[in-house]
Symmetry: C2
Amino acid sequence: MKILISNDDGIDSAGISALAKELKKIGDVTVIAPRTEQSAVGHAITMKIPLRITEYFKNGDFFGYAIDGTPADCIKIGIRNILKEPPDIVLSGINCGSNTAINIIYSGTVSAAREAAIMDIPSIAVSVTDHNPKHYEYAAKFSARLTQMVVEKKLKTGTLLNVNVPDLPESEIAGVLLTQQGKSKWDDIYEERRDPYGRKYYWLTGNLIQADATLDTDQFAVRQNYVSVTPVHFDLTDYEMFESMKNWHLDKMLKQ
Amino acid sequence: MKILISNDDGIDSAGISALAKELKKIGDVTVIAPRTEQSAVGHAITMKIPLRITEYFKNGDFFGYAIDGTPADCIKIGIRNILKEPPDIVLSGINCGSNTAINIIYSGTVSAAREAAIMDIPSIAVSVTDHNPKHYEYAAKFSARLTQMVVEKKLKTGTLLNVNVPDLPESEIAGVLLTQQGKSKWDDIYEERRDPYGRKYYWLTGNLIQADATLDTDQFAVRQNYVSVTPVHFDLTDYEMFESMKNWHLDKMLKQ
């Protein structure tokens, strides 16, 4: 099994090392990841400047390819120019911090997996809930098991799995749940500060307003110490609104 | 009616001027847009560096607020810190180049509208099909009409309208169609080049593979000279896969 691993925390992160180490037990792993941290870049791609590919070493050993771009760039250039043929599966992570509810929209980790799904390659995005994780081991082990399950059971073309794992030792994990994207959102706060020259600047902070209270949502599941697995697609048409907009008679707008 | 206008081509673009000029005829317009071009940034938000807000003048007159961030940043900081209360509607554009099919994923124009939808504010993303548009006028006029329609008929919370307008004079527009996101995708090509020092670099190019052939898809509709209006949401759960994954019995994974 040929496995491509990427992330958004950068190729030097501990999370991608933990994931690669575990996945090497079940397949032929290539790591192609951003040279620097790319959190919250969403599904950005680099078009206006060229990309470079650098061989990256960890502890003196070849670890993978560093790309000076976004997670989506890594998947695109990795599959088109570095790998000789498409991988059987793509994993993205292990991210520091959960990618649940509205965060799926902002996540670079998810965008790498989504880019693979766009290329019809099955993919899994994996995050642990803490920003300074202590327990990558279980998330990595779970990722390897789920990888085998995906290869066996197959995903729909265009679907990825978004996995969030509590930052806990395996013995404290409550279970594994199939979930949906939650509705929790941020109450963005821009802190106003002044630079040394007296000019204002604004720094984004805020709190995630917990709007999810059932175990079938990703955000509530991880808060209850469950591993959350959400099937995610990129079909953005709102079909319900599409149906109701048939009564808007847009076709008559041109002649108005 | 209070109208917030943003874009991804930057506050100095001709498209945002055309849109603001037309919308000022029907409402109280505030422009809050990126200081520099932000195409293909997807739904990136700025967290690791602070933002600044600068008053921006066009031809000696105050035009709006320039933010040194992404389209999504503009909506967040614009509504939280610049406007005294949320606008009645947000418009994003007019973008140079269509945002149809897979491009909805990569689009900064759409991300500004999506950020508004996340904040429960109705929104419209508007693009013209050409990268060097000659006909912003009709797209601007259409946007104003559609804005009035949205205010009257209401959108579902969390839904935005993604509008693509052929770069044609009004007399050559074939009509207006309600559409769905098409399936057309890019065959990414990374051109390998060498810099003056002999080192390789890679530049993204490619062609959109036309996979849409019916007028109910955004991509085909604009190619047939129709204005395309697509309702877009950010509910990323793949419910079909969710149902079929109930047979995966993920709940048994922990004890394996």
